[in-house]
Structure formats: C-alpha cells, structure tokens
C-alpha cells in the first residue's frame, strides 16, 4: 500500500457542529480474523462458527475493542497528520457479526484547552444498516495542533 497524503487539520479551523464524514464499512469474517491475528487474540469466538453458536452467539463476533479501534481511526483520519486521540469512551450496545454493514459518524460538540493542549470534543456513533445502535454515549477528545504548532510541510489541503 503506497502512502497517501495526510494533510493537517488545525484547531482554529474547527467549529462546534462540524461533522466527521460518515463512514460505511462492511464487516467480514476476514476482518474478524485479521483483527484477531493482529491483536494475537486467537479465541475461537472470533472465527469458529460452531463454537460461537454453541456458546449462544449466532456467529463469530467482533471484539468490542475493534469498534473502538475503528472510531479512533476515524478521528485520526479526520484530524490529520498531527492529531492525537486523547480520550475515547463508549458503552457497547450490540454485537457486530460478519455480514453486518456499519456506519460511523461524529460531530464536534466543543473545543477546549487542557494542560496546554488544544482539544476538540466529539460525540461519536456507530450503527448497523438497520439502525441498531452498536454503541451509546461515545465521546472523544481529539488533540489538534494550533496554527502555530504545525510542524510539518503538510499544512495545506483538506484531510479526507
């Protein structure tokens, strides 16, 4: 995979009410297996259909922390090359299974300075295509550089 350009969003340009672009993902069994392998979590729950069914699930299921990882990825992509997620919190409401399409969204609810850091506060959500809420009360604090902070030569352009 060749590197893509990641421009940089700066704190001053963000406004309350700004939205992260909704992102649709189709979760496959391959995704579960890849995440299990990348996190060294080889529990049969995440790939063995007969085992998962025998334990009350309709299929192998997504590790809840993978949902958090996807949301963190959304934030990092939106924030750009000098962003860093400082806080992320969520309550799990529904289990995700292979074949589920999910859509994540986010909206900026405020901006604050904390210990000299410029933080953008967001609420986040992820839902299945039928509207089932996967998580509730998801919030994040994303640190962004201020105009004076930006280090890189990537200060122009819109992050995706």
């Amino acid at each position: 995979m060749s590197p893509r350009a990641v421009p940089c969003r700066v704190f001053e340009e963000v406004q309350t009410g700004d939205e992260l672009p909704p992102r649709r993902r189709d979760i496959t069994l391959t995704d579960l297996v890849m995440y299990a392998a990348a996190t060294w979590d080889f529990h049969r729950y995440h790939y063995d259909e007969a085992f998962a069914r025998a334990h009350g699930h309709r299929a192998p299921f997504v590790d809840g922390q993978m949902i958090g990882a996807l949301l963190a990825g959304d934030l990092m992509d939106w924030g750009g090359a000098e962003a860093f997620v400082r806080r992320l919190t969520y309550r799990t409401r529904a289990t995700v299974y292979p074949g589920d399409g999910v859509v994540s969204r986010g909206v900026v609810t405020g901006k604050t300075a904390e210990n000299g850091r410029a933080l953008v506060l967001c609420t986040l959500s992820m839902a299945k295509m039928d509207g089932t809420e996967i998580m509730r009360d998801a919030t994040a604090a994303l640190e962004l550089p201020t105009r004076d902070d930006v280090v890189g030569a990537h200060r122009t352009g819109e992050p995706r």
Binding site: M1, Y35, D41, G68
Partner: protein, 160 residues
Amino acid sequence: MGLVTDELRAWIGRAVSYTAPEELGRAAIRYFAIALHDDNPLYRDEAFARTTRHGGTIAPPTLVTETCQLVDRPPDENGYFGHSWDLPLPSRRFIRGENHYEFVQPVRPADVVTTTWTIVDIYERETRHGSMLFVVSEARYTNQRGELLAVNREVNIHQP
C-alpha cells in the same frame, strides 16, 4: 440478590502485571493498521511521520490496549492466552459494557509495554436480562522508562 459474595468482593483491588518480552515493533503496528484497512502513513511511513510533530512512527491509539501480545504463555483449549481474571463464577463468559480510554502519549515501535490490570469494583445491577455482575477493571500501560502511555478502564458484564 447478593451476587457479590465475600469471595468475589475479595477480588476488588487485586492486580496483575504483564511485560512484553520484546519491543512492540514496526511490524506489529503495520499489521494492526492493515487489519483495520487503515492506510494512515503515521503508522507505517517513518519518513513521513518524522515530518510531523509526532517525530516518527506511532501506533494506532488503541493498539496498546490489546494486550494478548504482552502475555507470554501457551493458549488455552479455546485458543486464548491473553489476560483474564479467574473470578469464582460459573462461567468466564462476559460481554463488554464500557471502555474508557485515555491516551497519555503515543506508543512507539521501540516501546516495551507493561500493563497492570487492577479490579476496581464489582457490583450487581438489574438489567433487561436480569441481575448481572459488573466487573470494573483498570489497565495502566507503561513503557520501558516507566512512562505512562495509556489507561483503559473497562466494565465487563457477567451473567451470574
């Protein structure tokens, strides 16, 4: 009622630590990013990452909270070898209730991660599925210099 027995209550405050046998490494970081279809060059392009205020490759934020790779022991009969509490309950099964992540500083390829898990609280609460046991754990992640990297407070829900 009375799900929190004295035997269970004695687990509150118990802690266990795991230290990775080696550095996290650039391969583990890239592997995690691939599993999430995340092509952010901060995670894989050292030359690019050096031009940002991060100063070099960083790990995706939640990678450090996946701790199986820190635990150096053989898998159990279901393929699992990561952290778990051996609580005196009929089953080890649980569902994830909440995750609260705080990311104190980005995790780097050279970091040798230690995590310390502590049981913060165990309580009973009525849910739509009946009385459940809520186990609150906190994991603190540090590097080889003893610097705090992240904190993960999670609530897992056990059927009694």
